[in-house]
């Protein structure tokens, strides 16, 4: 019996001359720390052409969303960018809230902003740590992952999970902060500063690191915009574009922060922009802790019977709340018909949700504009005409997250 399977991809090109060779890298390869396949034509060790294939983690997210209620999708959106799942949660909840014309409470707004920035730190650390490890910087990797693990443990204390939190709720959050959470937060941020300083000391002026990162994988601002790049990728090219600053949402209008930009858009700039963004996130979190104290007291959830669950004691004690609870679980929240596109600045760039509602129990259509997928569309510009070995740091600096790219 012939057990060979048909090739799931059709390469865009073959070898263009006798001197070149076409090699396949991935989808499961140490150089691709996401399931992505890169078909490259090489002349010696120089990459001439690249054909990128993604989709190896495609789960039919958008199709699945059409079969569930609006509430039930929260665990699914967690699994898009699983390095910063809370940002997905809040962007999705914001999308549904815009459709329902709900304004969240001040405490919820500050907490969401704080947790989004906290997630951004974890996400950037994951990216930088993995990219450094691939270049052999094991110590820097361990420093960053140490802090990331503290953040995960700390978020588990709040949400009950380390990675996929399901913590957002339409119109609020799952639960309020446990006692002592903000004190522990300040300790972790202080540790974070120390460890970031050590990483800067280890690699910033390291000859090996600079040789691998400087002037490699360069992309200019105009070209980055042409390919739809957003987030740290675009900012590393020198364009100071950040949705948190340009079209403030959540509580970003009340915060003071800078938008760090790179110079030429090479791997070093992307590394440095991410490191600086961690600094800015820490700065924002400290402001948000104060804001929570001053203006952020009160409930975390809106009092809206269309989406908020009634308190458990009332569910058990009175028939109206029991019915309300039952209807919310079985039928889902009532979302008026309409369409909306909501974009948040996720750790990797613009995370957009385009939702179409017909007034049914769940979305009629939910499209995710995922930054990783768009970045994969233009990554060949950053790989071509560099060495094969440069593929590793360049790909690492993009922070392609399979769950979000392939959906």
């Amino acid at each position: 019996m012939d057990t060979r399977l048909p090739n799931p991809v059709r390469p865009a090109f073959g070898a263009s001359s006798d001197d070149t060779v076409v090699v396949n890298i991935g989808p499961s390869h140490p150089a691709t720390h996401g399931t992505v396949q890169i078909i490259a034509e090489l002349s010696g060790e120089k990459v001439l052409r690249v054909d990128v294939h993604c989709g190896y983690l495609h789960r039919g997210f958008e199709k699945e969303c059409e079969a569930h209620t609006w509430h039930n999708l929260i665990p699914y959106v967690d699994r898009l960018n699983y390095c910063s799942a809370l940002i997905n949660d809040f962007a999705y909840c914001d999308t549904v809230e815009r459709l329902m014309a709900i304004e969240i409470t001040p405490r919820c707004r500050y907490l969401r902003t704080l947790l989004a920035e906290y997630s951004r730190i974890a996400d950037h650390m994951t990216c930088v740590a993995a990219a450094l490890m691939e270049l052999g910087a094991m110590t820097a990797f361990l420093y960053l992952v140490t802090i990331r693990d503290q953040i995960y443990e700390h978020l588990a204390d709040l949400t009950g999970a380390r990675l996929t939190y399901s913590y957002g709720r339409i119109g609020g959050l799952a639960r309020d902060l446990p006692p002592g959470w903000l004190e522990r937060l300040e300790k972790i941020l202080a540790d974070c500063d120390v460890f970031l300083g050590r990483v800067h000391g280890l690699v910033d002026r390291n000859r090996i690191f600079i040789d691998r990162m400087r002037n490699v994988g360069t992309i200019g601002a105009a070209e980055a915009i042409h390919w739809g790049y957003t987030g740290p990728m675009l900012r590393a090219s020198g364009a100071p574009r950040d949705l948190r600053k340009d079209v403030p949402y959540l509580a970003y209008a009340e915060l003071e922060f800078e938008v760090p930009v790179g110079i030429i858009g090479d791997n070093y700039d992307r590394y440095y922009v991410r490191m600086r963004e961690i600094d800015e996130s820490i700065h924002m979190i400290r402001q948000l802790v104060d804001l929570l104290e001053d203006k952020g007291q009160g409930p975390i959830e809106v009092d809206d019977r269309r989406c908020s669950f009634p308190p458990k004691e009332r569910v058990y004690g009175e028939i109206e709340s029991l019915i309300n609870h039952f209807k919310l679980v079985i039928d889902g929240p009532r979302v008026p018909a309409g369409e909306v596109y909501v974009a948040h600045e996720a750790a990797n760039g613009e995370l957009g949700f385009y939702a179409v509602s017909t007034g049914g129990a769940g979305p009629y259509r939910l499209h995710v504009r995922s930054p990783s997928f768009v970045h994969m569309g233009g990554i060949h510009r950053m790989l071509e005409n560099y060495q094969l070995a440069d593929l590793v740091p360049t790909f690492g600096s993009v922070n392609m997250i399979g769950g979000e790219c392939d959906r």
Binding site: G55, Y354, R365
Partner: protein, 167 residues
């Protein structure tokens, strides 16, 4: 800033009489074969230099059946705009925006494999999230969610008595 945006909105409305206001951003409805010309004006005259997303919505009861939806963003004025074109199921063709935006390449490939929308002028519409040989368009409403097409054959036949896969 607001006055600048008002001015932009007025200029847009003058240039595109079909422009309608929606809750989140202006919406421009047009025919699928006007997409490229409209997008060129949006990019060159109004600064919509970034293509955020290309997708479609399937309305099986309606003729024409599909909405193709583009979202644009301006990195200068921070304005957004949604462009929509209705196409029928018999000849679901719209213009490709590839001559204007590199980002259209992957997005149009995704929209093509998921909905079967053709993009005139995009020479490379190979599958990107799905695989070669996949039959049908999974995000159309008439593609059953439970329908399976395993690329790697299952090791065992399903036990007798199990309901057959729906088509």
């Amino acid at each position: 800033m607001d006055s600048f945006r008002d001015k932009l909105d007025r200029q847009l409305a003058a240039a595109f009489p079909a422009l309608a206001a929606a809750a989140d951003m202006p919406v421009l409805a047009l025919a699928g074969n006007q997409a490229l010309a409209a997008a060129r004006r949006l990019r060159d005259e109004f600064g919509f230099d970034m293509l955020s997303s290309v997708t479609a919505v399937d309305w099986p009861q309606r003729a024409p059946r599909f909405d193709v939806v583009w979202h644009f963003y301006s990195t200068r004025s921070f304005a957004r705009l949604r462009m929509k074109a209705q196409v029928g199921v018999d000849d679901p063709q719209v213009d490709s925006l590839l001559p204007l935006y590199g980002a259209a390449a992957f997005m149009e490939r995704e929209c093509h494999e998921m909905f079967g929308i053709g993009f005139r002028g995009n020479p490379d519409l190979r599958p990107i999230l799905m695989y070669e040989g996949f039959v049908g368009y999974p995000l159309r409403k008439d593609y059953a969610k439970t329908h399976e097409q395993p690329l790697v054959p299952y090791r065992e036949q399903p036990p007798a008595g199990r309901p057959a896969q729906e088509p």
